[in-house]
């Protein structure tokens, strides 16, 4: 523990700005992935363990599109649509067959696809790591705010994530589709009985959740090595965020992701040997005090 260093940091504006912004950035990517995961669970009641592989696919599609076209905007769009389409195919042809089955069967299907997608990535892009590089528009020195460092690309990433979070919130709260999604999250069977095409609904939700993972992959690609199996580490962290925030709660995922990000950021200064452990301690505390998560609800 290095509490002196932590206190010094909190007392210094430059450190505060840098560490808070770093924590927010760490949280933003986590939120995008966790949000898709929690959305799928909330409506379909399915834990999509393949979600990390969707993130990996998003990164690879962005890498290839960017290297082919030179356009990062196209790369993000291609990742979003490509992974969304794959999500629909995966849901319709595979997950739909195991909705009523034991959770172990669902886990098996997801794990099989993790292995398949990792091998497809190896065959298509090679087993070695690839680096996309920073799009020219973001090759800029960091902004200095109160002595702290704010990289322009990370500001862009944060802005995109906040825009997605707001849009998602508005769609879920104010649109007919959102109403149906909330109804399905509350009672899936009733939604079907009321004449809603649940197959279409499930495919749409899966597409949306997958698209979020795809966007996360595209946003991560300029600053992470793209490699087969890269989805695994973010999947674990996303589960922690989802459990802390509450399974099925988008607002919960947002708050939990920020919490995890800030913990990691300040943890590296104050308790570097226990930063990862702290996330798990949070999760255990939440499970003990409020098992449904910070914003989760008891199942109806």
């Amino acid at each position: 523990m290095n509490l002196d260093a932590l206190l010094d940091c909190v007392a210094a504006s430059s450190c505060l700005v840098t560490q808070i912004s770093a924590g927010l950035i760490i949280g933003m990517l986590l939120f995008l992935v966790a949000c898709g995961l929690t959305l799928i669970f909330g409506v379909l009641g399915v834990i999509n363990f393949t979600h990390g592989s969707f993130y990996m696919m998003g990164a690879y599609i962005a890498l290839t599109t960017f290297q082919t076209t030179g356009s990062y905007a196209l790369a993000v769009l291609a990742s979003t649509l490509g992974v969304a389409l794959f999500g629909v195919i995966f849901e319709r042809f595979f997950m739909a067959r195991v909705y009523g089955a034991d959770v172990l069967m669902q886990l098996l299907v997801c794990y099989a696809f993790i292995l398949i997608l990792d091998d497809v990535a190896k065959i298509v892009w090679g087993a070695d790591f690839r680096a996309m590089g920073m799009p020219e528009a973001f090759v800029l020195p960091p902004l200095r705010v109160a002595g702290g460092f704010l990289p322009p690309f990370y500001l862009f990433l944060a802005a995109v994530t906040v825009a997605i979070a707001i849009t998602l919130g508005v769609v879920i709260a104010k649109t007919r589709f959102g109403k149906i999604v909330r109804a399905a999250a509350a009672n899936r069977q009733m939604v079907g009985v009321l004449g809603i095409n649940t197959a279409l609904l499930y495919a749409a939700v899966f597409a949306l959740g997958s698209a979020l993972a795809g966007i996360a992959g595209a946003l991560a690609a300029p600053v992470r090595s793209v490699v087969p199996g890269m989805g695994f580490s973010i999947l674990i962290e996303s589960f922690i965020v989802t459990v802390i925030g509450g399974m099925g709660s988008i607002a919960g995922a947002f708050v939990a992701a920020i919490l995890v990000g800030i913990t990691r950021s300040f943890g590296s200064i104050g308790f570097p040997l226990f930063t990862d452990g702290t996330m798990f301690v949070f999760m255990v505390l939440v499970l003990l005090i409020k098992p449904t998560g910070l914003f989760g609800r008891r199942p109806g």
């Binding site: 260093a5 940091c9 430059s14 450190c15 840098t18 560490q19 770093a22 950035i25 760490i26 990792d118 190896k122 087993a127 070695d128 790591f129 690839r130 680096a131 590089g133 920073m134 090759v139 020195p141 960091p142 460092f149 990289p151 690309f153 990370y154 300029p222 600053v223 992470r224 090595s225 490699v227 087969p228 199996g229 890269m230 580490s233 973010i234 990691r264 950021s265 943890g267 590296s268 200064i269 570097p272 930063t275 990862d276």
Partner: protein, 421 residues
């Protein structure tokens, strides 16, 4: 008097036995020759997936290139080497399992261990138990061969060592620290045996040659971490004048890419021992100026025709430039094949005896030769140098070559301090 049927039966039996004996006598040399032409199977556990898949890919490529040369020249009295490669995914338990499978199921009689440090210790314990000859070609953690409690008579190392690199690195960095007044240093290295040992050794020697330096901070990202933001922001808070890192491969590329966002490399002199690997250099799209690096593998260092030709041959064969693990595996396989040629045998004990003290001609030697030192069964005499990286060929300039007399002296002192001597 015998009954006719009995006489006929015994004649048939006699004729059948004679025919069988004749076939056996005529066919035995062919059968025996077939068995003696059985391939020499060398098992190679390595990492072929994940963020450091380049370890396995480059190791396999170089080992296979040397095997192909040996086989093309007739092998060992007509017996060809067959390289059996398996992916351990970099996990120690998986590496141990894979080695046992190579020995028990695939019939491998020799192990060319191209595992990273974390798994190489696991492999060492397996071959200690089975008695199979093994050459470690990737692990740089010095204790693998220096510590007599870990060392075993049937295991050798054909890879660079942390203590060799660090002793010269410390001297090189100390000279720059003295010249530029770099007093506050920080370490950012992966949190496992190689990262901890190598960084510790570097710091030890930096302080020996420039006592005024201080370690202002340290940050230890997890091996294969996807995100270094928290480590980078910690470095920015500590504000060191110089930073040492032994991150490598995809991890180093990610660290550089993320560090560039914070303009990290304009704020500290960086000593990245593993920077000068072609794969890493080519994947970094915006290489910061003036990063110091050891040679890892360069076709221009040693600046000899033999080295350049080997690099070009590798590039033509695999359409990619060789990297550090390439030359190490080429050397490991060369030691094996030369020991086989010298002894005419593939027996583990016979080969081990031949390997101890063996000297080979090698394009990677500081003076054209590399020795498998008998006392601790590890290579010495390979080219070590440090210079400054640039974004285009030859990628490293102002190379300073290490003197092996200096390195061996420092190594001996280090072994005494550690209790290995």
């Amino acid at each position: 008097m015998e009954k006719p049927a009995n006489r006929a039966g015994s004649r048939r039996s006699f004729l059948a036995a004679t025919a069988a004996t004749g076939l056996a006598v005529a066919g035995f040399p062919m059968v025996a020759r077939g068995q003696s032409k059985a391939p020499i199977k060398i098992g190679m556990p390595t990492i072929l997936s994940g963020r450091v898949a380049q370890i396995g890919i480059s190791s396999r490529n170089a080992a296979q290139m040397t095997v192909d040369d040996f086989n093309a020249a007739g092998g060992l009295d007509g017996r060809m080497i067959e390289l059996v490669v398996r992916d351990s995914k970099g996990k120690p338990d998986e590496a141990a399992r894979v080695v046992r499978e190579l020995i028990n199921s695939d019939g491998c009689t020799i192990i060319l261990d191209a595992e990273a440090s974390s798994a190489s210790f696991a492999v060492q314990e397996v071959v200690r138990e089975t008695g199979h000859l093994s050459i470690h070609t990737v692990s740089e953690t010095s204790s693998l061969s220096a510590d007599s409690k870990i060392r075993t008579a049937n295991a050798f190392r054909a890879a660079r060592q942390g203590i060799h690199d660090s002793s010269f690195a410390g001297k090189y960095a100390a000279e720059i620290a003295k010249a530029q007044g770099l007093k506050r240093w920080m370490i950012c290295s992966p949190d496992y045996a190689y990262g901890r040992d190598t960084s510790g050794e570097f710091l030890e020697y930096l302080k020996i040659f420039e006592p005024s330096v201080e370690l202002a901070g340290e940050t230890w990202p997890k091996l294969f971490a996807a995100d270094y933001t928290e480590n980078i922001t910690k470095i920015l808070q500590v504000k060191p004048q110089a930073l040492y890192t032994c991150l490598y491969g995809g991890d180093l590329v990610t660290f550089i890419d993320q560090g560039n966002l914070y303009d990290l490399f304009a704020q500290a002199n960086v000593f990245a021992v593993n920077m000068a690997d072609y794969t890493t250099l080519r994947e970094i799209k915006k290489l910061p100026k003036g990063i110091h690096s050891a040679n890892r593998y360069l076709t221009t260092f040693p600046a000899t025709k033999a080295n350049a030709e080997w690099g070009e041959r590798y590039r033509k064969k695999y359409d990619v430039l060789p990297i550090n693990w390439s030359w190490e595996n080429a050397v490991g396989m060369q030691f094996l094949t030369e020991a086989m040629k010298k002894t005419g045998s593939d027996d583990a004990k016979v080969l081990a005896q031949a390997l101890r003290g063996m000297v080979i001609e090698s394009p990677f030697g500081a003076d054209g030769k590399i020795t498998m030192r008998a006392e601790d069964q590890t290579i010495v005499g390979y080219a070590i140098g440090w210079g400054t990286t640039i974004p285009t060929q030859p990628y490293v300039t102002d190379m300073q070559a290490a003197d092996w007399g200096f390195i061996v002296e420092r190594e001996a002192e280090w072994k005494k301090r550690k209790g290995y001597a």
